[in-house]
Point group: D2
Chain length 298, copies 4
């Protein structure tokens, strides 16, 4: 039996960059968390510690900051692509780059100051980009070796009615009572894959987010899976540049509290919001002509 | 030398209750985290394990749920007072109750559904109430033995300019360069003490929050202490029912990145948002006629 | 374009179970966090909300507790296999089960009590099992459709010397200075795949953990990749039942503090332990005859 | 009504310092998290932003690092005292310093390497020191204006039997059943105040910790309060240099799972470890001749 090096990657994770842009007295800010992972000719560094192929993770961090200055920060998908292509194009030993970005939202504080902001929402916008350089900046191609996934996480939503759960399998360990009215709450993690790498990401994000919220609110739910699928389907139906969406939705249980011992009825009014355990529903929705790209998600 | 029992308290912490109220098809929700602490005749339970004076923490939890049904949940200060007075009034062995509540904000999801919500903001509204029962429901008094503190936490704000820091002490360990333009960012924790226990808490909260944001945005800052004081002063000046405010504001450092090695200038455009260490500024602002009530804060 | 359901799974996550076993006055405890994910005939539930194929996540939780009683809890790999096979064997609509377990360690408190324990270590032992039922309890086979991965996470280790980093790529964004002596610290996440499903998991775990620590300590490191590979290789060389190991090791930077402004030398004595950003090194080490099983890791 | 500045303090929080000391090939490490808070002539900085009295928090951080080099790091109480006295003695505008330290434990990795360590335990050792300078280095006095509190947190312990709970108050919201055998689990936070500032802190800490564990294990508990008091009393009885101890102990509920629906008995064998809500028991135990020092704890 021999022992060999398997798949590997390395990079600088969680570089926190805040970029201020001025438009006279009106400022704009972008607040990102950037994680880079590179792969390529990595045999030597693993087997002998020879770093000749290694671009230091410190240099990767510097690149994030320098690019924030040189190119500004537009949509995070574009910034991720810029970075990913740079690492592959400029470092001969690197053949593949993965760049993941989280963006935190800020709103303006009402008033006269154009430079004052307050963090908005618990929700985080995300991007995940892969590049092997073949879709390089000049080509504008669909990027055989490139992929762009947009998304969001920690979008916490709740329906206080309009959710049922019944007709399920009854085995010897089933004690759950069916219900025709329950609270449905979840923290949505969604990631959607674009067909190309040149989408209008700002518009696409706003639309996808709107679809997710709308489908969550307007689906009369018989199961969280049904809601999940409806959310994904709505995005694909309205956003033709998106070919696949993956959703992970914990069922954040809100248990009806038994108030009968206190002589009180509880007509779906008082709930205990539990922490653990929780249901976890994960699923993907696909256009049937979606090109295969499993590596885009890793 | 003898050994004696000192100050003590016990209770149920972090009871998570969600209350739904229906107005036809339009639902309203309140989402709270309630922590109760009781004290009183506690010698025996500590010295011998005799629980005759102990109202179980489980019963306290039940009370939170039952009260959510019976009384509904209005402003959290009022719900905390109801609970605190109940424990003192109804349990002979309990002479003092402390109730602390966190409230999480929800907004409606736009659209036709009246029962769909999305978590809004990272910020949490808080209340801290003490009662020894003497201000009981009927009296409406200022409550010698009662106190109400309102507040908020995790209100994350940032000024991208309008902040300076210079003229400080230079000792042998000082290497910091003075600056006339820096990013000022913090996560505000604020607690304000009411003169009475019958304030209009919803209005008072909205106004205090507005004052905090406005003063943060509009103070040209020479130090975070100056900003903190301005924020507190603005609340006291406009809200005469509030006699004291305490603020804790971490200086969430945003360090200017040195881009000179890459031939780039950084004119307050690109920042590294650091985690630790951070400055921590804590201070209180008082009306000079504020009644003494240190125990209100514990 | 049509829209179709893609890969999906659902289950109960993070069921926290503590199992006490008595041997006279001497008690033993097992403290687990169990997450179940099932897949199978899931079209209907997604498309129409028909739950006829759905074993409720609540029943899955009940099963964890009932099995803890009926079968006791031995090694977590075995408990995970028992659960996974049960769900596939007993629920006709379920064709695949994934069970993930975290185990928290406890030590005895020294003294006479046989029932008193203290949490030991920050480290968590893990298991990840897949089953499609074909390796059922009776067969003892290698389990075509079954796989067992053991592991650990949050094993935090540090070498205060014996680590160098130099000879790396210099690009226009490289400012890092080479070093021949640095602190190397990481929090190891390791997962190793067994060739079969009948290993001696307790012994195998103890040996793998010992190998990881030993290789970390005794590798004179020229790069974190070299250390990672040495750790993986040592496990594979000594544990022939293991055919693949994956490691994720953040480079928890300890930066040498510049004390020259204070007239002090810092001969690798005083370090700033940084939070973010951090390097992240991920890699796998394989036996060259390792059977292919990418799905085992998902 | 006038508005005035109330109590305030400021400083650098969470400076993470790792100190390596070499004894030939055998290294020793100290891993601390240091938080400094200063107070003094702070009117101007709050009212006008004049920083003439302000020692920058950045200088405080530098001081921590420089002192780690110059003085080494012995017991954290001593290091905290050194720092606190320095700030008060050397900065004319500062009249009071508070230094809080967390220490993370490391063990040696078995083997030949003298420089390899693994993080041990979830538990954190703590110190909290106040100084107004009057107990200065030379005097060795009891330090009227100085106080030293030692402690620990996140010491997670569990008794799988030997705990009862009955005989409690029954009110209209009480549904809890009395029990003569339950699991008792908690995460101990303990802080103890020394009579002087010159104790043998290493020995004292080891003894206090041993007492806490022993009393937890060997108290047959009728209530968590009884256990808490026994733990505190044991420390005070054996450590005469300690005059007060404060304990906060969440009751980490382990609920017996009802297995009857599955035809199984549960004779205190299978438990659900709940997250929230939890009981919270807080209490102090005092020597009856303990000098008054409430400010020591703030």
């Amino acid at each position: 039996m021999g022992i060999v090096l398997g798949p590997n990657r390395y990079g600088k994770a969680e570089t926190r960059v805040v970029r201020v842009t001025r438009d006279g007295d009106t400022h704009h800010i972008k607040d990102l968390n950037v994680s880079v992972s590179l792969s390529g000719q990595m045999e030597d560094v693993h087997l002998t510690g020879d770093n000749a192929a290694i671009l230091p993770t410190d240099s990767q961090k510097n690149t994030v900051y320098a690019f924030a200055k040189k190119h500004g920060i537009g949509e995070i998908e574009e910034f991720a692509l810029l970075l990913a292509r740079h690492f592959v194009d400029e470092t001969p030993t690197i053949s593949h780059a993965r760049v993941e970005i989280e963006e935190y939202g800020w709103s303006r504080i009402p008033g006269k100051s154009g430079h004052s902001f307050v963090r908005s929402g618990t929700e985080v916008r995300t991007a995940l980009v892969h590049s092997d350089g073949t879709g390089g900046t000049g080509t504008g191609g669909t990027g055989n070796g490139e992929s762009v996934i947009s998304g969001l996480k920690d979008l916490v939503v709740l329906n206080s009615t309009g959710s049922e759960f019944h007709g399920f399998v009854q085995d010897e360990y089933t004690t759950l009572q069916p219900t025709t009215d329950r609270v449905l709450a979840t923290a949505v993690t969604a990631q959607w894959r674009h067909r190309g790498v040149d989408a209008e990401f700002a518009k696409s994000f706003a639309e996808a987010r709107r679809c997710l919220l709308e489908a969550f609110a307007e689906t009369h739910s018989l199961s969280l899976q049904q809601t999940l699928y409806a959310m994904g389907r709505t995005v694909l139906e309205t956003q033709h540049g998106i070919c696949e969406i993956r959703l992970a939705m914990p069922n954040k249980h809100h248990f009806l509290v038994d108030l009968q011992p206190f002589g009180l009825e509880n007509d779906n009014e008082v709930f205990f919001a539990a922490d653990r355990p929780y249901g976890l529903i994960e699923g993907s929705v696909l256009a049937d002509d979606a090109p295969d790209a499993p590596a885009a998600w890793t």
